[in-house]
């Protein structure tokens, strides 16, 4: 296990909200293929840290690397990005002025320049909005860095579930999973318009794959049920299925056992273990249910008041006096 590389590396992540330091210089790594848990009393900063990892908010300082790539950090030289937007158009205008001065092309030069400049400006603004990967890499060359957004993280291989289930309630289970598969599908706008054979094939393949994923999490046969009609435990599984559909390397589960009875919790633990062994997934759990945490985690990290106060195997953490103190009592066994 010491050979495994770290799939996620968070270095000195700090997040301030005005005067409140919600996350304070937290170092956090996740070895590939591990199941790690993040615990801590309420208000410890787990959710904020989680949100930083997912690209929902920017850290005040520190960085997060995923799969070897820098994904999250405080935005750098963002002001320069505006220059990058305007530069092509300004160039064109200068060229046009030069052309006009030297008398080449005459009156048409102005119209052409104007059109070209405006077109370029719109093009760059569109780029700034859409932010394809090559554009981000280009910006990196200039030292301009913006954190990945949540959908970028999914693209990179991080998927998550929500603490309060956020399924698409009025869609069927299969449709929910298909949404999860969004980043894995290649159909473009043109494919949509023209209903190309490729698009239709992809839909069929995706449909079958969605059914497979549902079966994987133990939801065989309910594909056409509306998400809101499913029992609670099934909804939790469906959320996991949806997360799995994006083909992640790292799965972030936010209190997956909340509201579950002991049997359901057992089944959940078995499922998570299976995800690691069968699919090679790495899992990060935020959890309050100590049965789950102690039962399946390879490693437990404890946050309190924004700082990491303990990290180690479940046994080590359980016995750590600082942890006990933070919780004011032994964790429920």
């Amino acid at each position: 296990m010491s050979e495994a590389r770290d799939i996620l590396v968070a270095e000195r992540v700090t997040r301030r909200f005005g005067g409140l330091v919600a996350v304070n210089e937290v170092d956090f790594t996740i070895p590939e293929g591990a199941i790690v848990s993040l615990i801590g009393p309420n208000g410890a900063g787990k959710t904020t840290f989680f949100n930083v990892l997912l690209g929902i908010i920017d850290p005040t300082s520190g960085r997060v690397e995923f799969d070897g790539r820098a994904m999250i950090a405080r935005p750098r030289r963002v002001g320069v990005e505006s220059l990058v937007w305007v530069a092509p158009s300004v160039l064109v205008v200068l060229v046009g002025l030069a052309l006009q001065a030297t008398g080449v092309l005459g009156g048409a030069a102005i119209a052409l320049t104007a059109v070209a400049a405006i077109g370029l400006l719109m093009g760059t603004l569109l780029l700034a909005i859409v932010r394809p990967l090559w554009y981000q890499n280009l910006l990196l060359r200039f030292g301009i860095f913006r954190s990945a957004r949540p959908n970028d993280m999914v693209q990179a291989g991080v998927a998550r579930t929500f603490q309060n289930i956020r399924l698409f309630k009025n869609m069927t289970a299969v449709e929910n999973v298909l949404i999860g598969m969004h980043t894995q599908m290649r159909a473009s706008l043109a494919d949509g318009f023209l209903s190309t054979p490729r698009a239709r094939r992809e839909e069929d393949v995706s449909d079958r794959r969605a059914q497979e994923i549902l079966t994987l999490v133990g939801l065989h046969g309910i594909g056409n049920e509306l998400a809101k009609n499913l029992p609670y435990g099934d909804q939790r599984r469906l959320e996991i299925a949806r997360a799995l559909a994006s083909g992640p390397k790292l799965l972030l589960l936010d209190e997956p056992a909340a509201g579950m009875n002991p049997k359901e919790t057992q089944d959940l633990m078995k499922l998570i273990s299976r995800l690691r062994t069968d699919l090679g997934l790495t899992v990060l759990l935020i959890e309050h249910d100590m049965k789950v945490v102690m039962g399946i985690s390879d490693r437990v990290t404890v946050l309190d008041a924004g700082r990491k106060i303990a990290e180690g195997t479940p046994e080590e953490v359980r016995r750590d006096p600082r942890v006990i103190e933070a919780y004011l009592g032994t964790p429920a066994a």
Partner: protein, 405 residues
């Protein structure tokens, strides 16, 4: 073991089975069924127009002309349905794109416009100058799409109501710009002399013969509807639905919400652009007063009443509403003028139409928000009064996990 039961399908068991079968068949061969449906409509409408009781209202030619005008609104409704009904973005300034398409065509296809642009199609093509209509259908759509992107780019991250207001603002700004830029747009008088479409062999469309316009409109509506259904059923359409239902969850599943919303906006705008081109080519004049909030509101009413999310529904709804307005209300006016019942005689039914729209809109929202021909998913969304399993008194309301956003 569901905690919650879905609403029973309307129409009873047998009706439901038949409807389900038709639905299933038509979704598998969607494009084909649209073409068949539209062809049927295109054929039946002129026939209906020539028989009593419809023939007593107006001549068949007048009816056909009205159908074509209704078709403009059908196009607008289809496009707005994409934006509002499928993607859930409330656009209150939709008429702005309608205007842009119309003026785009006016610039390409009128003496005044050509002069501004520095080209002369009349000189180049003579009587067949109307040939520009056909490429302009596409170019007008593209230009409108560009403006859709321009409008959408800065505004689509706004929350629903704010987006509505901003689009409303734009919807007001665009006609004002057209109105006040006299040098370039001829101000209040608008741009006249717009070329009618020209088909080699047929010549220019005429004001007297409604059939070329009618058939062109039917064809365009068919094509647009096919695209709309395809898009809504595609990966992109799913993304739109996801965004509409829960934008945060959609983003958490990898959907680039900004781009996806922008796409909806642009596509909706392009449809309005097409409608604008056709409208300009039919009226042969474009002026700013054709594109006020009233138009945006009317199209919105059509989408809402027709059934948000359901393309056939809004198409039929738009058609019916427009036709009722323009024929029934006019006729009521004439009728009561002739018959001279005291109070009713003084009422201007045409002026009343917006009162009726308003009442219909409010009533619809209160009683049947999914519209007359609902999209089944919308119906589920809007009538769900269920206790979701897992939500109990201890659960706090939804967290917007965007740190203060």
């Amino acid at each position: 073991m569901s905690v919650v039961q879905d609403l029973p399908a309307p129409g009873g068991r047998r009706g439901g089975a038949v409807r389900a079968r038709i639905g299933e068949l038509s979704s598998r061969h969607r494009s084909f069924s649209i073409i068949v449906g539209m062809a049927l409509a295109a054929a039946i409408l002129p026939v209906l127009a020539a028989v009593p009781p419809f023939s007593s209202f107006q001549t068949q030619n007048a009816w056909m002309d009205g159908f074509t005008n209704a078709g403009v609104f059908v196009l607008l409704a289809l496009g707005l349905n994409l934006v509002v009904g499928v993607a859930g973005l409330l656009d209150l300034g939709y008429a702005a794109f309608f205007a842009i398409g119309a003026y785009a065509y006016a610039y390409a296809a009128s003496p005044f416009g050509n002069q501004i642009l520095g080209i002369d199609f009349k000189g180049l093509l003579g009587d067949s100058a109307g040939l520009v209509f056909w490429p302009m259908l596409v170019i007008g759509a593209l230009i409108a799409a560009v403006f859709g992107i321009l409008l959408g780019a800065p505004t689509l991250r706004l929350r629903g109501d704010y987006l509505a207001i901003v689009t409303l603002g734009f919807g007001e700004i665009v006609p004002i710009v057209f109105l006040n830029s006299d040098a370039v747009t001829n101000g209040t008088n608008g741009i006249g002399g717009v070329f009618r479409p020209y088909l080699p062999g047929l010549g220019s469309f005429s004001a007297v013969n409604p059939w070329p316009y009618y058939l062109t409109m039917m064809a365009v509506v068919t094509v647009v509807m096919i695209f709309c259904y395809r898009l809504a059923g595609s990966r992109i359409g799913r993304a739109w639905e996801a965004i509409r239902e829960d934008e945060l969850a959609a983003a958490a599943n990898g959907i680039n919400t900004v781009t996806t919303k922008l796409l909806a906006f642009a596509l909706g705008a392009s449809t309005a652009g097409i409608a604008g081109v056709i409208n300009a080519a039919k009226l042969t004049v474009v002026s700013p007063d054709q594109f006020g909030f009233v138009v945006s509101f009317t199209v919105l009413a059509m989408v809402v009443l027709g059934g948000m999310g359901n393309f056939w529904g809004v198409a039929v709804g738009a058609f019916v509403i427009y036709t009722i307005n323009n024929v029934l209300l006019k006729t009521l006016n004439q009728f009561f003028d002739a018959v001279a019942i005291p109070i009713l005689k003084d009422i201007d039914f045409i002026g009343l139409q917006f009162l009726l729209y308003g009442i219909a809109l409010v009533a619809m929202m209160l009683l049947r928000p999914e519209g007359l021909f609902p999209n089944s998913r919308r119906q589920r969304e809007l009538h769900a009064e269920v206790i979701e399993p897992g939500a109990d008194a201890m659960t706090l309301p939804e967290v917007t996990e965007e740190g203060g956003r």
